[in-house]
């Protein structure tokens, strides 16, 4: 099997991730729920993981990291915990439903949305974003890297705009954490929402928020915290504020292992290797007249995603043929990003997405190219 769906989840994990999860299942108690050896082993590992994530995202302290199940949960916590009826929010047509649906819910409750459109290459206009700020703009919520096109937003520029207009910047880093540098201070991001199982190469069921000091978020959930048990309210201090209930310590142990790998291997190296593979794939196919590509693929700053259609074939058929005949795993359809597909006019056809990992070899990419050539020319 050749797996090219890393934008959905990382299939191959660094050595040590699975073992870390297995070891944790066999040895770790409930972190933050006691002081015996099994519980402390969990608490210590969770704390170290917070420290590693804080370093990765340029945060000052471990307490700025709150764990969730995934990016969707993190985005829901940030969006619903920071935006209220009457607030104005700027977002983009590049967004995943994990951003759009919470915002649509808030729109029904009285929040006002500006959704920045994209051009034919799936890019937003920063000038248009600048002009969209209003006196009551509470936040910009947007993705770093599109999960459809791989286009990259200039988060430092967006962060600067947010500071100038005194608005929060909530970043969806689902497709960029672990691959592109994100620095909370330098990029002026208030909340970074991330998942553990994509670029961070950890297990599914892990993710979280990195929250700038002083940014208050109303908790989405309340419940057990391991402290202040007789208080009727969820504790105010981070990260307990946003972490009601038992954490997925077993999954976080795997994330701990994958973060160690990322530290040693280096995310710049990973990004360069992935981009090289994606560029080769694109260059080998770009001259095929029957292929329509989506996104700003000639931009050197680009995620390792190449999305396209062959003629007017249903993307589901193309993806299915790749799977059935060549054992190549890709993702067809709308990728949970409806506005991106409306931009390209691919609501009915969808599109076939290849997403790459530094674990791929050039030979594997060549095999994929040959398979697509076969489909086109047979």
């Amino acid at each position: 099997m050749l797996y090219f769906d890393y934008a959905a989840t990382s299939l191959r994990k660094p050595d040590g991730v699975a073992k870390a999860v297995a070891d944790a299942i066999l040895s770790m108690g409930n972190g933050a729920r006691g002081t015996h050896a099994a519980s402390l082993a969990s608490s210590r590992m969770i704390y170290e993981t917070r420290e590693m994530l804080a370093r990765l995202f340029g945060a000052k302290e471990a307490c700025q990291i709150a764990f969730t199940m995934n990016s969707t949960m993190a985005l829901n916590i940030a969006i619903k915990g920071m935006i209220q009826p009457g607030d104005h929010v700027i977002t983009t047509a590049m967004e995943h439903n994990s951003v759009l649906r919470p915002l649509y819910e808030l729109e029904k409750q009285g929040a006002v949305l500006t959704i920045l459109p994209c051009d034919a290459l799936g890019r937003i206009s920063y000038k248009e974003m600048e002009e969209s700020f209003r006196e009551n703009t509470k936040a910009v919520v947007c993705t770093h890297v599109s999960n459809v096109t791989g286009n990259v937003n200039d988060i430092r520029r967006i962060g600067q705009m947010c500071r100038e207009h005194q608005a929060y910047f909530i970043l969806d880093a689902s497709q960029s954490a672990g691959t592109f540098p994100i620095h909370m201070q330098e990029d002026q991001v208030d909340v970074i929402c991330f998942t553990g199982h994509k670029g961070l190469l950890g297990p599914q069921g892990t993710g979280g928020l990195c929250v700038k000091k002083g940014v208050a978020i109303r908790p989405l959930l309340s419940g057990g915290s391991g402290i202040h048990s007789f208080s009727k309210e969820q504790p105010e201090q981070m990260p307990t504020r946003l972490e009601a209930g038992t954490l997925n310590a077993h999954g976080i142990a795997g994330l701990h292992a994958s973060l160690q790998y990322l530290q040693e291997y280096g995310i710049d190296r990973i990004r360069e290797e992935e981009q090289k593979l994606a560029s080769y794939f694109y260059e080998q196919l770009r001259k095929e007249e029957s292929i329509t590509f989506y996104g700003d693929l000639d931009n050197p700053v680009h995620g390792a995603i190449v999305t396209f259609n062959i003629g007017d074939y249903d993307s589901a058929q193309v993806s299915d043929e790749l799977a059935q005949r060549f054992s190549i795993c890709t993702r067809p359809g709308a990728h949970c990003a409806p506005l991106m597909h409306e931009t390209f006019g691919t609501e009915r056809q969808g599109a076939v997405r290849f997403s790459f990992s530094h674990f791929h070899t050039m030979e594997e990419v060549r095999t994929a190219v040959e398979a697509i050539h076969t489909l086109i020319h047979e």
Binding site: G31, A32, R33, G34, T35, L40, S43, R44, I46, Y47, R50, E61, A62, C63, G226, I227, H228, S229, F230, S231, P235, Q237, M238, P239, T240
Partner: protein, 78 residues
């Protein structure tokens, strides 16, 4: 049961603060260990840092220098 001794107990607002304390103390060989929060200090649950009472001033100075946060510091028999 062992005989109680005069102890210095630091309580915290979050487990993360307690873990930061343990982490920093281990690195600098500051005496003490994590214990369950004694009920004499608070009825709620949670983690606390225990150390002999004679170490209190040294630990307070260390915590200040490391910018370690605590909720409360008490001397009790534990």
């Amino acid at each position: 049961m062992r005989k109680k001794e005069l102890s210095c107990i630091f309580s915290f607002e979050t487990t993360t603060q307690a873990m930061a304390m343990e982490n920093a103390c281990k690195k600098k060989q500051i005496p003490g260990r994590i214990i369950p929060l004694p009920k004499e200090i608070s009825a709620g649950c949670g983690l606390a840092w225990w150390a002999p009472a004679k170490e209190k001033e040294r630990i307070l100075a260390f915590m200040a220098s490391e910018q370690l946060v605590y909720e409360q510091c008490d001397e009790i028999l534990f």
